[in-house]
Amino acid sequence: MAEFLSLHDAVARYVQDGSTVAMEGFTHLIPFAAGHEVIRQKKRDLTLIRMTPDLIYDQLIGAGCARKVIFSWGGNPGVGSLHRLRDAVEKGWPHPVEILEHSHAAMACAFEAGAAGLPMAVLRGYIGSELPSVNEQIRFIECPFTGERLAAVPSVRPDTSIVHAQKADRHGNVLIEGIVGVQKEAVLAASQSIITVEEIVDELDTHPNACVLPSWAIDAIAVAEKGALPSYTHGYYERDNRFYKKWDEIARDRDTFTQWLNDHVLNSAESAGGQV
């Protein structure tokens, strides 16, 4: 049964040092407010899972929260590199970060398999790619019916998944709409989950096959208005593409980044909105 908590309390309770955490949202609905709260609470040694690390993990990595990142595409979409990720991987700043990389197809299937309670995902993947030579978690099995060689990857089963959504009703049922990514899978695959929402409403008022996560499949719900900025929330506000471009400058330099982090996250009270 979902409990309504403040974002502070939700993160304090469900994100521990050393945890494996997936903050998902495929470009859309990225839980920035929650990520910033994780930074403020100075969580350490996290294994961070996300298909597209995006700015949210760049910030967490730069802030020193991450020990390992599992991902499939680590860039600033349409802009360029994630400089904090690169600085950590290439130069070990603020400390070395281990990476484990997949393709999108494999990670999507691994989330699906995690939600499905399976230990592994099977896909027709990685044919001819050299990714299996640098990721020992990519293996191959043989189809017992056709003999075809298929890829297998371990399912994603985070300790905690954090996603952002449009709204929850008063019972704690949550609606996700638009680009739904792997958010449902992330929540169902995790041992614990936090969902931040734009608002709490009396009725979700939606259609028969909407992507609704029932209250009993969620641990905590926290209201975080504009909690996905600079990404966006379908039906609420648009993506701040300008900030994504601006991030390139901010993140390129350690000092500029540190200053930004101090000003906009660390010395900023928990805010309803994702501070950008």
């Binding site: 860039g75 792997v182 593409n241």
Partner: protein, 259 residues
Amino acid sequence: MGSEYTNSEMMTVTAARALENGTTCFVGIGLPSEAANLARLTHAPDVVLIYESGTLQTKPDILPLSIGDGELSDSALTTVAVPEMFRYWLQGGKVDVGFLGTAQIDRFANLNTTLIGDYREPKVRLPGGGGAPEIATSAGEVFITLKHSKRALVKDVDFITTVGFGRDGKARDGVPNIGRGPSRVITDLCVMKPDAETRELVVVSLHPGVTREDVVEATGWEIRFAEQLETTPVPDENELSILRELKARTERAHSGQQE
């Protein structure tokens, strides 16, 4: 005849023309997205564009900055979850053409978007695979578009993120349930296709004003030219004006303050 145009525009228009009307195309962000949308707005109104964010048959009015901009979902026929996108629509064999960009490509059309240098000691760390490794094997065929340079077109990629025809040109031979692979590479200088036998990329068409030497100079291996070397048709007025409007709309939208 024809109006003035830049090399980039030549590349985009040529890439767009490669996409036939009615084709179902899994679109990579950046150059492929620009070309695919130009195709949709010109000769191929019924081209079906799919982005890995789950947006099926989308018709963005402006080019998305990211693979999951709201514009893509708002203008899509429907939007599915990302696992479904990769499982049912891509792996399920519903995609005719995968349209990809890349940081590096080699003579066997293998793509590298992982890193320059050694994996454990990278000189430059690139974003990684994303959707490309399986787009390249599950789509019916693959188009690639990138700017021509010696840094980008190398004899052997540092890392095969996404297979073209492998290190020896034979990676697809005898593999069941695999697409035809890269069938054309469109740069700002020329169009290349894999040799039917060796699978090595061969220049089949030079853009107007480009010489063989220009291409040789900008290519990291001893590039070969087809016997019947063609000249790429120039962009027409309509294509150029639609492309420019598209880019201007996009620029305005992306630099404008979001509400």
